[in-house]
Symmetry: C2
Subunit: 472 residues, 2 copies
């Protein structure tokens, strides 16, 4: 890696995008360098905002010729520092924000062509505009971009029914290291002509090239959606409820979110208009969403299923939303879970997954382990039970010292990740590796797999200038 | 590639699996060398039947040390010669048939662990045995293996709802060139820890390594399935019907197959117990399947949707199966379409896809083109309209010379594939490349993509001994 980038070279990069779109002022750079959790602090001589695929190509060509490192960025909402340059100051940041066109919409083929810088919310709106539905949904959807979603293979609450971002992509346009453009904007549901390169770039966090556009799948809108908030005694009961809902819920289970009582306490305490949907308190809650194309809707079936689950003893009190507003209230409880933790002091976070069947045993063991490791700490695991994906967060002891608590971040990670390994799980279910978990990767991956990853990186990015020090 | 494999070396390979499972007798080799269409004729000094992953590993280690080429094979049902060695006689065939264990079934996590040699039908049965459903379905399911399905990313009729084989795989165990084993049998719905290597091996047709086992997704069984046989005037009407069925069919569209009148004529003529489900004759027919988890089933909604489509003018007469037997009769018409073509003389075949919206225009143009190219020929395009995937087959003119007709195979391919290219389609939607389409690949692929594919092949199989001369 070069020590410092000469001002002459910086001028050549700036000339590609034009002075207006080459940001060197440190204050103007802040929106690109500062991420919302304020955990990663990077530095760059230049933020480049290319306005076309050709400009991205010219940037990567010049970067290749001069050995200049490039950090691609979408909406700067990533949680593992993948989108933030290192503090060395010798990496250029390339924001894809100006590539923000919805190029085409084809409701007959159920596809949208979108550029990398289109926000997730605009992708959803573009689908809606042609009477269709784009199922990827994240709390950050107003600012995260589809390019970032693709780079990180974003997950979210719809995965249980529609899969990860990976499963929503038909084609890609990618600028490769060196500047060549792969025109892979295919609109085909079936295409068995050679190796699947598309999935290599999805989730590679910008380390193999820059995704500039994609063909995404869109779907018929559900005719009817039923949303229920249900008290349960344990994650094991929640799992039984999931199977019952899948078999008899009157449609497709499109969300199944597990939340502990402590999380609801936090939200009710810190969000002014939030309230408990159920009078009686339960140790755990499930937010269940069932969608259907049937004209009758899910109403009766959903209610019947919840009654049956109650009688069988694995669901407690439940409320089915009687309006869109009430459904939105349920969802707000879930969505505020992350945000409100900061009002309760430090929070040590994990984003893990295990096979679905093992979630209850994993939770038992991991909760006991962190409670033993930091007496008085408050485990707050929540998330996508239907995908086996738990955001295993731990809030600091009441009245404890925040700094002292957060100093145990890595050590706590070790405790939790050891249990994840025992359950053959993943230490990054949906957030990616970035900078945050790069050092952990060799410890959790099959060495043969690590070697293959390194070989592919060396093949596609032989100079190692694409988002260096991320993932690998 | 070595000229001939010495008998000493052959003995070393045979010793790995034991004499009983190293077949050199040309007659005993026939089940592995002869494929059902009799288009590819290979030769090998030895068919090896390893009984464990370790034996597969030992074979690839010795192959690597000695530069010996290896052709992996599943159920020998492939249509493009990918599983057949070349006639040179210097490639060893490795059949995965003896790796035939269902290692584990986990209905709570909705996963099965299966070895490569388990037939597709046995995978379906294993899912059924734990109250679940494996949606991949092919006419050859009694003999094709899940390993072959993975190697070729098999499609079939369920793709419209469940995706290709690629979409059904969570984890893989792969023996790499050189003999190292990648233990990638993950059971996770979400795992964002690095590059997606799994999809690189799926659909690679054994050119990057040998898949020895997989974790596959299984699904809740549909509670109710409605099957209808519908006459339509045109593919454009069929497409309208598809959208109507998706919106109002009372469930998920799990199959949508288009068939021309000529195909039904062939089946009715040549299959003794086959009969027309509809009295009136239509130029095209649709086989529609709708599945639901709702207790009421699809019955009323499906009928109402067909009535509405009739009134709107894009569906003709229709029959909804009133029994499982009747549904099976409808399916038999569809499944016999390939088989019965051989009773009508030569048939030139294509397996193409285009964006769904463009199927009607593609069919118009391609039918006109082949009729102009071979006067009197009988186009018989059929297949998975919901995936944009058409088996564009062309039967010879009545009373014409079969040999003379089949001599135009490549030239006819050129005519059809040129139109496919114009519509940004694929020349191999689900059958793969194998030997059959290898020469065509550089002509239809983006050169940047070809280069990436070659680079990845060279990285993972530097000696070029894994299924050489296939795909690339």
């Amino acid at each position: 890696m070069a020590a410092e980038i000469s001002s002459d070279l910086l001028a050549r990069f700036a000339a590609i995008v034009g002075a207006k779109y080459a940001i060197s002022d440190i204050n103007d750079q802040q929106p690109y360098l500062k991420e919302w959790r304020d955990r990663y602090h990077g530095r760059t001589p230049l933020v480049l905002l290319p306005g076309s695929v050709e400009e991205v190509s010219a940037i990567l060509k010049l970067a290749d010729e001069t050995g200049t490192s490039i950090v691609p960025q979408g909406g700067n909402t990533g949680l593992v520092g993948g989108q933030v340059p290192h503090a060395t100051g010798n990496e250029l940041l390339v924001s894809l924000k100006r590539l923000d066109k919805v190029r085409a919409a084809d409701p007959d083929s159920n596809t949208l062509d979108v550029e990398a810088g289109v926000t997730l919310q605009r992708v959803q709106e573009a689908a809606d505009g042609v009477g269709r539905f784009f199922p990827l949904s994240l709390p950050s959807e107003g600012s995260c971009t589809i390019g970032g979603n693709i780079g990180t293979n974003a997950g979210g609450t719809g995965v249980i029914a529609y899969g990860n971002t990976r499963d929503l992509i038909l084609g890609l346009e990618v600028v490769l290291p060196g500047g060549r453009i792969w025109h892979g904007m295919r609109h085909l549901r079936k295409d068995n002509t050679g190796y699947d390169l598309r999935n290599l770039f999805i989730g590679a966090e910008g380390t193999l090239g820059i995704v500039t556009a994609a063909v995404v799948k869109i779907f018929p809108k559900p005719r009817s959606v039923g949303t229920a908030f249900i008290g349960v005694d344990s994650p094991a009961d929640a799992l039984n409820l999931l199977h019952e809902a899948r078999a008899n819920g009157g449609g497709t289970v499109t969300a199944f979110e597990l939340m502990p009582r402590l999380g609801i306490d936090f939200v009710v305490r810190h969000v002014s208009d939030a309230r408990d949907p159920i009078a009686e308190k339960y140790p755990w809650y499930v937010l269940l969403e069932v969608s259907t194309q049937s004209e009758e809707g899910v109403g009766d079936a959903l209610e019947g299923m919840l009654m049956a689950a109650y009688e069988k003893g694995y669901a407690g009190d439940a409320v089915i939303a009687s309006s869109l507003e009430q459904a939105a209230d349920f969802w707000r409880l879930r969505e505020q879970l992350s945000e409100t933790q900061k009002f309760e002091g430090g929070s040590i976070k994990h984003d893990v997954s295990v096979p679905i069947r093992l979630v209850p045993a994993f939770l038992d063991k991991a909760i006991a382990a962190v409670e033993a490791f930091i007496p008085g700490c408050r485990p707050l695991p929540f998330g996508h039970l239907g995908d086996g994906n738990i955001h295993f967060n731990v809030s600091q002891p009441v009245g404890g010292d925040k700094k002292e608590f957060l100093a145990k971040w890595e050590a706590t990670n070790e405790v939790v990740h050891a249990i994840v390994a025992e359950f053959h799980g993943s230490i990054s279910a949906e957030h990616g590796i970035g900078q945050a978990k790069r050092a952990l990767l060799p410890g959790v991956k099959d060495p043969v797999e690590m070697e293959m990853m390194r070989a592919i990186k060396a093949t596609l990015d032989p100079k190692g200038i694409m988002n260096p020090g991320k993932v690998l």
